[in-house]
Amino acid sequence: MKNTYKLICLFFTLLVTVSCEDLNDGVNVNPNDILVDDVEERLFLTGGMIANVQIQCGHLNRISGMYTGQLIGYSSLYSNIYGFNLSTAESNSEWNALYVGVITNMRHIVENSNSDQLRGIAMIVEAHAVGTAASLFGDIPYSEAANLEISDPKFDSQVAVYDSAIALLDRGINTLNTSSSGAIPEDIYFNGDTSKWIAAAQTLKARFYLHKKDYASALSAAQNGISSADGDLKFQPGDAAAEDKNLFWTILEGSRAGDIGNSVDGVESYLLQLLDNENANSRNHAKTNEAARRAFYTINSSSGSANDGIIEQKQPQNMVTYFENKLIMAEAAGRAGGVSSGLSHLNEVRAWLNSGGNLNGNYSDQPYSYEAFVAADFEAGGIENADGISAKNAFLREVIEERYVSGFGMHMPYNDARRLRKSDNDIAVSYVLVNGDNSQKPERMPYATIELNSNSSAPAQDPGIFTKTEVNQ
C-alpha cells in the first residue's frame, strides 16, 4: 500500500506539470489579417484621406453650417443640435477619424516609406486634419499623441497645435520640392501631382495664419497658394455601388431625410435669403445676380436623389480651394493697404464666379452675373456701401460675405464668424439662425466622449460649446 501511495503522489505531481504548450504553437497567429510590415506604405494613404474627408465634410461640418445660419436642423437629432443640445458623443466619429484614421496612418507612412513624394503628401494630409481639428475643438492632444508609450497624452494649446501644423506643412512642402512626381492612384485627391500639393499646402498655411490673425504671414503664404480652380483640393465621389458618394446626399438618401437642409416648407436659412432677390437681406445689385447660385445651393431635404445641385450624388465637396486662397489675399491685402491693395484679388474670384465656377452643369444655364468691382463701389454711397461706413470696411465686409457664400460646405464661414466676433463685428456677416436661438453663439465643438472617458489628462468636463478657443479670445 505504501508504495502505491508514493506512486500515486508522484503520478499526481507529475501530471499536473504536464500540459503541452508545443501543441498550441502557431495556432493563435491571426488568419484573417496581414502583418503591417508586409503592406506597402502607399496602401495606407487612401484610408487616411477618406478619414480626413469626414473631418472636413462630415457631421461636424454640417453642424458648423447650422451654427452660421447656412443650414437649419428641421427634425430629430439635427433639430436638437440646432437648439444647442450638442453632446460630446457627436464628436466621437471625427475624433476617431483624426487620431486613428489620419495621424496614426500618415505617420506610419512618413516613418517607413522611402518615397519622398508619398511622405510629403502624408505630412500635408496630417497637417490639414490636425489644423482643422485645432480650429474646431481648441486645445487638443498632438505633441504626445499617437505614441504608444504615452497612454494619456496631454492637451496642447490651440496656438501650439496651429504652429505645429504650419511647421509640418513646411516640412511637407520641402519634401515635395525635391521628390519625384509620378502618378499615385492611392492619392484620391491629386493623384500624386506634387505641384498641386505644394500649392494646396501653401493655402493651408495661409488659412492657419488667418485663424491666428497673422494677416501678413497669411498673405505671403497665399502668394504661392492655389492659383486656379484646377488646383482645388476636393473630395471627389466615385462610381462604386455605395459608400463613396457626396456625404450630404448620403444622409438625406437614407433615414435622415427631412432632418437637415436649408429650405423646407418655405423656411429658408439666412444664406439662401442672402441670395434671394426678393428678400430684404439680398446681396444682389447692379453688378451681382445670384439667381443661379441660389438655385444651385437650395437643398431638397426630402431625399438625396431629389437634388441635382450642390449635394447631388457625385457633386465634389470643397476642402481647400482657389477662391479661398484668393479671398485670404483679398482680406489680408485689404487690411494692410485698403481697397486698392485687395480689390484685384476679389475681382479674380468674381471672374471665376462669372465663368460658372461655383455651379454645376445643371445650373450653369440659369441667370448669374458677377461684374468686376471698382474702387468707387466701396466709397460711401456706392453699391457696396449704402450705409456709409469706411471704404476699407465696406470692401472687407464684401470679402467676408463672399467667403460666407462661396464657402458653403466648408468650415470657412464658421471659422470666420468666430475670428471676427471679438473686434471685427462691423465686417462680419450678421447671420441669424432662423427659428433658432440667437442670444448665444457657439464657439467650438465639444471634445469627444471617447477621449474624455479614457484620457486622464483630458479636462474633467468638456468646457462647453460657448467657451471661446485661444485664438478667438
Binding site: V27, L77, N96, D244
Partner: protein, 803 residues
C-alpha cells in the same frame, strides 16, 4: 397604442410625416378622404388605387388590423419516438423527433429534426464500449428585428393609427405617366413615390425579405472504458462535433436602410468543427481502515475551428426576388469575405477524493492548462471539505441528515483567439452620421488595425469561496440547502476604449476586476405521500450582489456599444448599470428645473439605474391524485431596473397611449418651448408638476424636446422602470391512462395526456414590455430593449404513447 390622433405634426395631418402628432381623429369631418386624381398614384396588388390625399376626412383607425396583419397565433407540431432496450451487457437507445413551428409573426418558421442513437456494449470482462451519435437538422426563416429600419417592430410600432398598412406592394405611376413596379408602400411613402420607404412597412419585412438558416450538425462520442483491476478504471473518450450553417439574407430593391434600398443579397457558409479527446484514469484505494481515496488523473485536448465564407451582392440590376448572384453581374457589386478562428488547448489535471469514516469528505484538485490564446500555462487549484455531521456527531429524530460544506476554487476563462498582434486591416469605414465612406469603394486599402494587439493576454480567473449546509428533516422528506458564496474575478477580458489620441481605439486585454457575493436557499418538501395523493413543493431563493472593482484606468466600458442608453461596467457599480443622459438633480434627488419649471438634461451621461435584481425566487408545486397530475412553476424577480426604450421612443413618435391624452386646461400652463397656453384651451398632452408647479407636456416636450427618447440628448431618467416581475412559467395538467384493458387491446403500457400553459400569467410594472426582453441577446449587457421581438405565451397539448 393610441388611436385618436392622426399622422402629422403640430396638430395638422401630414401624410408623409414620421410622427403621429397630427389632428384629432374624432373631430374630422368623417366619410371618405379627398384626393387629387390628376397626377401620381399607387396601384396595389389587389387593384386598389391610392391617390395623394388633399383632405383627410376619414375617422377610420387601423391599429388592430395592422397588428393582426403581422401577428398570428403561432403553432407547432412535434412528434417524438423513443425506443430503448437491450440485454444485460448491451443496451441501446434510439430517438427521433421532428418539430415544425410557425412563429407568432407570419412567415417565421422553425423546423427541426433530431436523430439520436446510443449504444453500450460490454466487450469482455474488463472492457466496455459506448458510442453516442446524434444528428440535428434545422431549417428556419427569421424575421429582421431590433434597431433596424428594415426590422419588423420599428416599422409596425411607429405606424400612425390612421394609416392602413395592408397594401405594401404595388406599382407607382408618376404624374408624367411613368410606371415603377414593385414599389414599397410605407406609412412615410404612402404612394410608393420613392424607392426608399424610410421605414419598412412591416408586411414587406415579413413577406418580401428573407433570412433563412439551415444547419446540419453531427456529434459522435465514442468512449472506451477499461477496468483492468477492480480498483482501477481507465477511460478514453473522443468527441467530434461538426456543423455547417448556411444562412441567406435577402432584401429586395426598396428595403429600408442604406445600401439595402438598392437590394442586398448575402449568403454565409459557416463551418465549425470541435474535437475533444479525454484520457482519464481513476483508482480507488483504502489508505487505512477509515480512510478511502479515489484518485483521478486526466488529460484532455480541445481543438475548435470556425470558418465563415460570405458572398454578397449589393445593388441589383433587376428588380426581382429570385435569390441569385445574377441579380447584378458587374464585378463591383459582388464581394467575397472570409473569416476564420482556430483555438487549441490542452489540460492535465488530478483530483483526490478522500473519504474519512464515511463522514468527512475532502476533495483536492489541480489542473494545468495551456491554451493557444495565452502565453504560458496556468494552474487552477480547488479544494472542498464536507462534513456529514449527522453520521455520528449529531443524532436527532427531526434532523435525518446534515452536512456542512466549505469550498475554495479557481477557474479560468480563456481569451478570444488571435488577439496577440496588431495588424493591417482592410474593410473599414469612416462615418460621422449615417454617411459612411468605405475603403472598399475607393479601390481598397489598409490601415493600422484600430484594435491594438495584446501579446500579454492571460485568462480571466475567478477565485471563489463557498460555505453551505444541506439538511434533511422528517425522514428526508424535507430538505433544505443554504449556501453563501463570495468570489473575485481578476483580469476580466474586455475590449477597453483607449484614449483615441494614442492612435488606437480599443485594446482587448485583462482590464477589469469584479466581485460577487450571494446567498442561495433551496427547499424541497414531500408534503403528502399517500398511495393516491402526492404533493411535492420546491422553493428556491437567491440574491447576488455584484461590484465592478477596477477597470485599469478607464471610466466605463460599454457592454452595448452604439446605444443612447447603454449597459456598462463602471467602477463602483454593479456590472450592467444603465448609462445615458438624464435630468440634472440636486443632492437630495429633486430635479433642477429651468425657469419654466422643466427638467434640464445633464451635460454628460450618468448612471440611470441598475438592471440587476435584488433577489429572485421560484416556487414549484407538483400534485398527483390518482391518475391526474398538476404542475405549477412560479418565478419572481424583485427589484432591478429596466429601460423600455421602445416604449419611451414611441412617445416622441406620438403613437403611445401616454401621449394621447386630451385635456381642457383649467389654468394657464407653460409648455417646454416656453409658450403659455391659456386656460380653457383643449390640448393634447399631460399636466405634470416636476416640483415647481404644473406644466404642460405637449408636442414640444415629447417630439422636439428632451422627453421623447430619440437619440443622445434626452432625459432618459424618465425611461427607467422597476423591473420586478412575477411569472407563472408553467401550469400543466396531465392525465395518465393505463389500464389492463388498454394493454390488452392496444399493447400500450400507458397513454399520457398533458395540457401545459407557459407564461400565461405575467405581472410586471412596465406597460406592454416584458422586463426579461433583452435587446442584446446573450451577453453581459442587459436591461434594455429597442424594437426587440416580444416574448410569447403558449399552450401545449401533448399525447405520449408508451409501449
Amino acid at each position: 397604442m393610441q388611436n385618436t390622433w392622426g399622422q402629422g405634426r403640430n396638430g395638422v395631418f401630414g401624410a408623409t410625416r414620421a410622427e403621429s402628432w397630427g389632428d384629432y381623429i374624432p373631430d374630422r369631418a368623417g366619410g371618405a378622404d379627398e384626393f387629387n386624381t390628376t397626377g401620381q398614384y399607387f396601384t396595389a396588388e389587389d387593384g386598389t388605387v391610392y391617390y395623394p390625399i388633399t383632405t383627410k376626412n376619414s375617422r377610420e383607425t387601423f391599429v388592430e388590423s395592422n397588428w393582426d396583419s403581422v401577428f398570428q397565433t403561432g403553432a407547432f407540431w412535434q412528434n417524438d419516438l423513443t425506443i430503448s432496450g437491450g440485454t444485460e451487457g448491451n443496451t441501446y437507445f434510439f430517438s427521433m423527433s421532428n418539430l415544425q413551428q410557425d412563429g407568432i409573426m407570419r412567415e417565421a418558421t422553425y423546423d427541426r429534426t433530431n436523430l439520436r442513437f446510443n449504444y453500450n456494449a460490454t466487450l469482455n470482462d474488463f472492457m466496455r464500449l459506448t458510442t453516442k451519435a446524434a444528428y440535428t437538422y434545422t431549417d428556419s426563416n427569421r424575421i429582421q428585428q431590433s434597431s433596424n429600419t428594415a426590422g419588423i417592430m420599428l416599422g409596425l410600432l411607429r405606424t400612425p393609427p390612421d394609416f392602413d398598412g395592408r397594401d405594401y406592394l404595388g406599382t407607382y405611376t408618376s404624374s408624367g405617366g411613368q410606371e415603377f413596379s414593385r414599389r414599397h408602400r410605407s406609412y412615410r411613402r404612402y404612394l410608393g413615390n420613392s424607392a426608399n420607404p424610410s421605414y419598412n412597412n412591416p408586411l414587406w419585412t415579413l413577406f418580401e425579405q428573407t433570412a433563412t438558416t439551415q444547419v446540419n450538425r453531427f456529434t459522435v462520442t465514442p468512449q472506451l472504458t477499461i477496468t483492468p483491476t477492480e480498483w482501477l478504471e481507465i477511460i478514453a473518450r473522443g468527441n467530434v462535433d461538426a456543423a455547417d450553417d448556411r444562412r441567406v439574407y435577402f432584401f429586395p430593391i426598396g428595403s429600408a436602410g442604406g445600401a439595402r434600398v438598392n437590394g442586398a443579397y448575402q449568403e454565409d457558409e459557416i463551418a465549425t468543427q470541435d474535437v475533444n479527446f479525454d484520457f482519464i484514469g481513476r483508482g480507488q484505494f483504502d489508505l487505512s481502515e477509515n480512510v478511502g481515496l479515489t484518485a483521478t488523473l486526466g488529460w484532455s485536448l480541445n481543438d475548435r475551428r470556425y470558418n465563415r465564407n460570405s458572398g454578397t451582392i449589393t445593388g441589383f440590376l433587376v428588380n426581382s426576388t429570385k435569390q441569385t448572384t445574377s441579380l447584378n453581374t458587374s464585378a463591383e457589386a459582388s464581394a467575397f469575405e472570409n473569416f476564420k478562428t482556430f483555438r487549441k488547448s490542452n489540460r492535465g489535471y488530478g483530483i483526490l477524493n478522500f473519504d474519512i469514516a464515511d463522514e468527512l469528505f475532502v476533495n483536492l484538485s489541480g489542473g494545468l492548462e495551456a491554451s493557444s490564446t495565452i502565453e504560458g500555462t496556468f494552474f487552477y487549484p480547488a479544494a472542498d471539505v464536507a462534513w456529514n455531521f449527522t453520521n455520528s456527531a449529531v443524532t436527532s429524530d427531526f434532523l435525518s441528515f446534515g452536512k456542512l460544506r466549505v469550498s475554495y476554487g479557481q477557474v479560468g476563462v480563456q481569451p478570444s483567439p488571435h488577439r496577440f498582434e496588431t495588424l493591417a486591416e482592410g474593410g473599414f469605414t469612416y462615418s460621422t452620421y449615417s454617411d459612411p465612406l468605405n475603403i472598399g469603394s475607393f479601390g481598397g486599402g489598409y490601415r493600422l488595425d484600430n484594435n491594438l494587439g495584446n501579446p500579454n493576454l492571460e485568462p480571466e480567473i475567478k477565485t471563489e469561496y463557498e460555505i453551505g449546509t444541506d439538511l434533511r428533516f422528517l425522514d428526508n422528506n424535507l430538505s433544505l440547502s443554504m449556501t453563501y458564496y463570495s468570489n473575485t474575478i481578476e483580469g476580466i477580458l474586455l475590449d477597453v476604449s483607449l484614449s483615441p489620441s494614442t492612435g488606437f481605439a480599443t485594446q482587448y486585454g485583462n482590464f477589469g476586476a469584479m466581485e460577487n457575493e450571494g446567498f442561495e436557499i433551496d427547499l424541497a418538501w414531500n408534503a403528502i405521500q399517500k398511495e393516491d395523493l402526492l404533493l411535492n413543493a420546491t422553493l428556491n431563493w437567491s440574491t447576488n450582489e455584484n461590484l465592478v472593482t477596477d477597470l485599469y484606468g478607464t471610466d466605463s466600458v460599454s457592454l452595448t456599444p452604439g446605444a443612447s442608453v447603454s449597459s456598462r461596467a463602471i467602477v463602483g457599480h454593479p456590472l450592467g448599470v444603465l448609462f445615458g443622459t438624464g435630468s440634472q438633480t440636486n443632492p437630495d434627488g429633486s430635479l433642477i428645473l429651468d425657469e419654466n419649471g422643466f427638467p434640464q438634461i445633464t451635460s454628460s451621461e450618468i448612471v440611470l439605474g441598475d438592471p440587476n435584481a435584488d433577489w429572485r425566487a421560484g416556487l414549484g408545486l407538483n400534485l398527483t391524485y390518482k391518475k391526474w397530475n398538476l404542475n405549477v412553476v412560479v418565478e419572481h424577480s424583485q427589484g432591478g431596473e429596466f429601460s423600455p426604450r421602445t416604449l419611451h421612443v414611441l412617445n416622441r413618435f406620438g403613437t403611445t397611449q401616454a401621449t394621447a391624452n386630451r385635456e381642457t386646461l383649467t389654468q394657464d400652463l407653460v409648455n417646454y418651448a416656453g409658450d403659455i397656453i391659456p386656460s380653457g384651451t383643449t390640448v393634447r398632452g399631460n399636466i405634470k408638476d416636476f416640483g415647481a408647479g404644473n406644466v404642460l407636456l405637449d408636442e414640444t416636450w415629447y417630439r422636439t424636446g428632451i422627453g421623447g427618447g430619440f437619440g443622445d440628448n434626452q432625459a432618459y431618467n424618465f425611461s427607467i422602470y422597476d423591473a420586478t416581475f412575477t411569472k407563472v412559467r408553467e401550469l400543466s395538467l396531465g392525465y395518465t391512462l393505463d389500464s389492463p384493458g388498454l394493454k390488452q387491446s392496444t399493447g400500450l403500457d400507458s397513454v399520457r395526456f398533458t395540457v401545459t400553459g407557459r407564461n400565461w400569467i405575467n405581472i410586471n410594472n412596465i406597460p406592454g414590455i416584458d422586463p426579461e426582453t433583452n435587446q442584446y441577446g446573450v451577453g453581459n449587457g442587459f436591461g434594455l430593449d429597442y424594437f426587440t421581438n416580444p416574448q410569447t405565451k403558449s399552450t401545449l397539448l401533448s399525447v405520449a404513447f408508451n409501449f
